[in-house]
C-alpha cells in the first residue's frame, strides 16, 4: 500500500516575521480610507448681548494759564456690547473605503473556493504519481495533493483580500460631533470708566522731550521755566496722546511764549529780518495763550514790518500762518508781483534769486503734489515749487489739477531730485478761478 504524504516546509522564523510585516503593510496600503469632513449649521439657539470691556486709551485736555501749562489726563476703557447669535453646529466626518467592497467580495469568494477545493480533494485519487521519481527518490504528488495545493493558493489570495475588505469596512463610518458656535453679528463701542490717568507725562518738542513730570490724580502742571524748548506734543509714558485742535493751538502757543521768554531782549530796529519775522510769528501764536498781553508787542512788530516794507526791505515779506484769511494775507503782504498765465511778471522767474523775499500773488494749477509740504505749481508755461508751512491756518485739499491762488514769498530756488525750480513759500492758499 502506498502512503501519501503532503509536506510543506515552513520558512524560517525571521522570514515568517518579514512576510507578516510585509503582508500587514501591503494590506494597510490596499485599504485606503477617504475622510471627508463637512460642517452643517443647525438652528439658531439663542441671541444674547455680551458686554466686554477692552483697552481704551487716554485723553488729554490742555489749558494754559500763563506761565502755567495745565494738563488734565483722563484714562478710559472701551465698553463693547456685542450681539451674539448662538447656533448648533454639526461637524460630520465620513470615512469611506472604495476598496472595501471589492476586496471583501474577492476575499469571501476565494476563501469559499478554497474550502470547496479542499473538500473536493478528498473525492479524488490519493495515489502518488509512480511514473515520476524525483532526485530525492520520491514519487510525484497525487491528484489530491494538487487539488489541496490549489486550495492553499486560493486561500492565500483570499485571506489578504478578506483582511483588506474587513479593515476597510471596519474603518468606514460616520462621526457626528455637535457643538455650539457663536457668531458676533454686531457690536457697539462706547467710552466708559473714565478715570484720572497716572504716569510720567512728557512734553515733546521737535528734538525730543522738553519736560517730564509725573501726573498725579490725572493732572500735571508745567511751569514755563521748567521747559527746555517749545512743546509740540504730549506723551503719557511711551504713548503719544491725541490732542484736540484747540488744545494743540494752546500747546503751540505756550511753546511760542516759552520761546519768546527765552529770546534775549533786543530792540526791534536791531533785529535782522529773519529774526523779526520769527518774532512776529511767535507773538501771534503766543496771543492764543496770553491774549491781550501780546497786543502791544504784535502791534510794535507790525509797525516795524510796515516801516521796512515801505522802505523796500524785502525781509518784510515772509511766510506766516497768522493771517486769518486770503484777503488779510493780501493786505498784510501787499504783493507787488503777480504770477499768472500770460502775466508779464512771469519773465522775472528767469532770475529767481533777484526775487528773494518779495511777496507775490500766484495763480496756477497744482501739477504735482510731491510731498504734503511742497508741490509743483504750473503757471502758464512756467513751473515753480510752492512750499506749504506745516502750521498753516487754511485748510482744504489741493489735489493734482486743482486751480489755486496764493499769496507767497519768493525764497530763491529749490532742488528736488534732479529738478531745480524757483521756490515760493505760501502765506495763504485757496482754490480759485
Amino acid at each position: 500500500m502506498t502512503t501519501l504524504v503532503l509536506t510543506l516546509r515552513a520558512p524560517p522564523a525571521g522570514v515568517q516575521r518579514a512576510l507578516a510585516l510585509g503582508l500587514a503593510v501591503a494590506t494597510a496600503g490596499c485599504a485606503p480610507i477617504d475622510v471627508t469632513t463637512r460642517t452643517e449649521r443647525g438652528p439658531l439657539l439663542r441671541t444674547y448681548s455680551r458686554p466686554q470691556v477692552v483697552a481704551g486709551g487716554a485723553q488729554v485736555e490742555v489749558r494754559a494759564d500763563w506761565p502755567t501749562l495745565k494738563l488734565t489726563l483722563v484714562g478710559f476703557d472701551t465698553c463693547r456690547a456685542e450681539t451674539v447669535e448662538e447656533y448648533a453646529e454639526e461637524r460630520i466626518t465620513e470615512r469611506t473605503s472604495r476598496a472595501a467592497g471589492p476586496a471583501l467580495a474577492t476575499g469571501i469568494a476565494n476563501v469559499l473556493a478554497a474550502g470547496v477545493l479542499y473538500g473536493v480533494s478528498f473525492a479524488v485519487s490519493s495515489v502518488p504519481n509512480v511514473s515520476y521519481i524525483n532526485e530525492a527518490g520520491h514519487y510525484g504528488p497525487s491528484t489530491q495533493q494538487y487539488v489541496q495545493s490549489s486550495a492553499l493558493i486560493t486561500l492565500l489570495i483570499g485571506l489578504p483580500a478578506l483582511a483588506v475588505g474587513a479593515i476597510g469596512y471596519l474603518r468606514s463610518g460616520v462621526d457626528v460631533e455637535t457643538a455650539k458656535v457663536e457668531q458676533v453679528v454686531s457690536q457697539k463701542d462706547a467710552r466708559c470708566n473714565d478715570r484720572p490717568a497716572a504716569g510720567p507725562v512728557t512734553l515733546v518738542g521737535p528734538k525730543g522731550a522738553v519736560a517730564v513730570k509725573a501726573a498725579v490724580d490725572g493732572a500735571v502742571d508745567f511751569q514755563a521755566a521748567e521747559l527746555t524748548g517749545a512743546p509740540e506734543g504730549i506723551a503719557l509714558g511711551e504713548v503719544e496722546l491725541a490732542v484736540d485742535e484747540e488744545g494743540q493751538q494752546r500747546l503751540w502757543g505756550f511753546g511760542a511764549c516759552v520761546q519768546l521768554e527765552r529770546d534775549a531782549p533786543k530792540k526791534l530796529e536791531m533785529m535782522g529780518e529773519g529774526e523779526l519775522l520769527a518774532r512776529a510769528e511767535r507773538l501771534r501764536q503766543c496771543r492764543v495763550v496770553r491774549g491781550e498781553a501780546m497786543a502791544e508787542p504784535i502791534r510794535a512788530v507790525d509797525v516795524e514790518l510796515s516801516r521796512r516794507r515801505e522802505t523796500g526791505s524785502p525781509g518784510a515779506f515772509a511766510p506766516g500762518s497768522n493771517v486769518a484769511s486770503f484777503e488779510e494775507a493780501v493786505s498784510a503782504y501787499a504783493p507787488k508781483l503777480k504770477f499768472a498765465n500770460g502775466s508779464t511778471d512771469l519773465g522775472r522767474l528767469d532770475t529767481p534769486e533777484a526775487l528773494d523775499g518779495q511777496a507775490v500773488l500766484l495763480e496756477g494749477i497744482v501739477a504735482e503734489g510731491m510731498t504734503s509740504n511742497i508741490g509743483v505749481i504750473q503757471v502758464g508755461e512756467r513751473q515753480l515749487y510752492l512750499f506749504i508751512p506745516p502750521r498753516r491756518a487754511w485748510g482744504g485739499d489741493f489735489g493734482n489739477g486743482t486751480r489755486i491762488e496764493a499769496v507767497a514769498v519768493m525764497a530763491g530756488t529749490q532742488t528736488v531730485g534732479e529738478r531745480t525750480l524757483p521756490l515760493a513759500r505760501a502765506v495763504w492758499m485757496r482754490a480759485a478761478f
Binding site: A26, N129, S131, E135, H138, G140, I153, L156, P160
Partner: protein, 127 residues
C-alpha cells in the same frame, strides 16, 4: 495597483511552496533500481553501457535485473546505499525525472565515470 502587486506576490509565493515542497511518498529501493536499469537499457544502448556492463543490446534489462537482484520485489540497497544510488542517478534524470525515459549517452558516460561503485553494483559484484 498595490492590490494587484500583493496578489502577484502571494501567487508566486504559493507556487514556490508547491514546487519546492509538494511531492509524494519515497519510492521503494526496487523502483529506483529498476528506473536506473530502464534508463540505461532503453535502446539503442549506449556504447559506454555495453563496454562497462558488458550487456547485449537485446536483453539488457533482463540481464541487469538478474545481476543486481532488482527483479525481486523485496530488493533493498546495501552497497552502495540508497543515498549514494540517488546521487549517482542524478545525471540519468537530467533530461526528465519521469520513468521510461532514455538517458542521453553523455549522461550515461558521466554515471560510469563518477560512480565506479554503481558500475560494480550493476555488474553484479557483491561487496
Amino acid at each position: 495597483m498595490p492590490r494587484r502587486l500583493l496578489l502577484a506576490v502571494l501567487t508566486g509565493l504559493a507556487c514556490g511552496l508547491v514546487a519546492a515542497g509538494c511531492y509524494g511518498p519515497p519510492a521503494p529501493d526496487v523502483a529506483i533500481c529498476r528506473d536506473i536499469i530502464t534508463r540505461l537499457c532503453i535502446g539503442p544502448v549506449c556504447t559506454s553501457t555495453q563496454a562497462a556492463l558488458n550487456v547485449p543490446e537485446d536483453g539488457c534489462e533482463t540481464e541487469l535485473l538478474a545481476r543486481t537482484g532488482c527483479g525481486s520485489e523485496e530488493f533493498a540497497f546495501t552497497t552502495p546505499e540508497r543515498p549514494r544510488v540517488l546521487q549517482c542517478r542524478k545525471p540519468l534524470i537530467r533530461v526528465s525525472a519521469s520513468t521510461y525515459v532514455k538517458a542521453p549517452c553523455p549522461d550515461v558516460d558521466e554515471l560510469f565515470a563518477t560512480c565506479p561503485d554503481m558500475t560494480a553494483f550493476l555488474n553484479g559484484v557483491k561487496p
